[in-house]
């Protein structure tokens, strides 16, 4: 594998992670709790797209958009039924509740569709092969959608009244409310945006690999890691964290640590050592630990909180 291929793979992974980490971090920013149901909602989105794509025969792009809207609305419903009643509770109570919601969601999907992996009705794609790397059209789309979503979010946050209100609510909910911002309305929008993005991420991951009830749980650690690495509550941090994690996961398996240990052949011993692929999920965890030890507030840490 060439170096450029590793970088391309990293960017693909980062685009998927960014879609998920962004939503996690903005919900945290406004509601002050770590939503352990976040990636499960992405999985629900992937299955809703499955209904429309495989069940009803719609093209995957249409199915993905319907799923993003439906899952976004569904998250508002969950908020009304559960989280809204807990606005005054401490973070840990809401977090544990979100974990309960996540378990219920994952197993509902598992009860309906079974535990096995399934595929969208998408034809197998011929990769585009260049001298340095190969990439499938789908992967190009993943990157494009990831970048577009990030740009859209930036524009939303800085050039719309809603974005301004969101930032105000994030900084000081009481003050925002006193200034005439309907914080409950903002919360509704935040859920919708966060979970639609997550759903889109879920569909993209499902298209690149397959969909499975455990797919949400399988990405919870990298997604949290990306959000924490960038400084939880900071949307740009989440994007940066996703990129850093994408690079780390791919380079972690690419680098010959044997060469690193003997300083590229300077020292008189040589033994190839690569991180076994079975430990790929551990890479994000190791990085998480290092970040927490060195910079607990993340690369772009936010001022308050600790």
């Amino acid at each position: 594998m060439t170096l450029i291929q590793v970088i391309v793979n990293s960017i693909i992974r980062a685009s998927e992670l960014a879609l998920l980490a962004l939503g996690l971090t903005i919900v945290y920013d406004i509601l002050k709790f770590a939503n352990f149901a976040h990636t499960e909602l992405a999985m629900v989105g992937a299955y809703i797209a499955f209904i429309f794509n495989v069940g009803l025969g719609l093209p995957i792009a249409v199915a993905a958009i319907i799923a993003a809207i439906a899952t976004g609305l569904f998250s508002i419903l969950i908020d009304r039924a559960v989280f809204k009643k807990m606005r005054e509770s401490t973070g840990i109570i809401v977090m544990v509740t979100s974990m309960g919601v996540g378990i219920a969601l994952r197993n509902t999907v598992r009860a309906i569709w079974g535990p096995d992996a399934q595929n969208y009705a998408v034809p197998l794609q011929k990769p585009i092969v260049t001298a340095w790397f190969r990439i499938t059209p789908l992967q190009v789309w993943i990157i494009v959608i990831g970048v577009l979503a990030m740009v859209a979010f930036y524009l939303l946050l800085h050039y719309t009244t809603l974005g301004k209100a969101m930032r105000a609510t994030s900084d000081d909910p009481a003050l925002a409310q006193a200034s005439g911002i309907a914080t409950e309305k903002i919360i509704t929008y935040v859920w919708f945006i966060a979970i639609s993005f997550a759903s889109l991420g879920g569909v993209l991951i499902g298209m690149e690999t397959y969909i499975q009830p455990v797919m949400g749980f399988a990405i919870i650690i990298p997604v949290f890691c990306a959000a924490i690495m960038g400084g939880i509550g900071n949307p740009y941090g989440a994007m940066l964290g996703a990129l850093a994690l994408g690079l780390a996961e791919n380079f972690g398996l690419y680098i010959n640590f044997g060469k690193v240990l003997n300083l590229g052949g300077l020292l008189p011993f040589s033994k190839d050592f690569y991180i076994p692929t079975g430990y790929k999920p551990a890479i994000s965890f190791i990085i998480l630990i290092v970040v927490l030890l060195v910079r607990p507030r993340g690369i772009l840490g936010k001022k308050k909180e600790g």
Binding site: G100, N107, F285
Partner: protein, 305 residues
Amino acid sequence: MAFVNFLVYLAIMMGIYGILSLSLNLQYGFTGLANFGQVGFFCLGAYITTIITLTFGLPFILGLIISMVVAGLFGYVIAIPTADLKEDYWAIVTLASAEIVRMFFLNEDWVVGGGVYRGGAFGVGGIPQPLKSYFSAQSYPFFYFIIVLICLIATYLIINKLTRSPYGIVLKSIREGEDRLAQAMGKDVKRFRLKTMAVGGMFGGLAGCLWAHYYGFISPRQFLPLETFIVWAMVIVGGKGNNKGAILGAVIIIIFYHSTRYLKDYIPVEEVTLASLRMVAIGILIVLVMLFMKEGIIKEKKPVY
């Protein structure tokens, strides 16, 4: 007889999960530490005792002690990066740690001696059962239940003593976010958190050890993160911050969990669907208790001044 055997099985499960629940209650209920990786200690205890008793052929009691020590140390170590941080960080780091433990035993089959179709994803069987030769196959579970019961009572007494001591009061002040109060009393909050994770981890390891010797077979598949959340349901339903509640929670959830196994005889659902529905119920139960009965069944005793 089959029914009696089933009851003994249930009682042993209640005992083992009771220990897990007491351990989590010490961490979450009393100290406010969101340990989302309880299954990691459970897994570690099970594997360590298997290595000690099966690979090295040492006696059960050594397996028990060493698995507790290793799990305790593990708890201490994984708490270091998050000791100063908020609960969200605890949750994700403990969750990830438990996954690392499982991943380790999934990938490294040599730790249990290796061999064809042995270790790793295949699991490992033939774990010796203590004093098995003195009992018939029929009476052994009764004896094993007594071992579990002794461990459960010991765990209860130790944790109860701990939480009622001045140590426990410091833990509660940490939970209530009164770090400064604890610090003003000259208590090093960080060290208290580390110690609590270590003590809780020890008992998690004990439960794992008891599990391994009861089943005689362990595999990474038994230690999925789902187990952690079953234990969480026990603590939450029974009543956090109350040791009797933690045991009651274990009893209730175990009865619920195992009684629903027989539903498939009455309604036409497949086993795998039933297993999913059972977890849906556990998830919803956690949400409902958190919404409407935050204190659980047995409320925490709040001191009256």
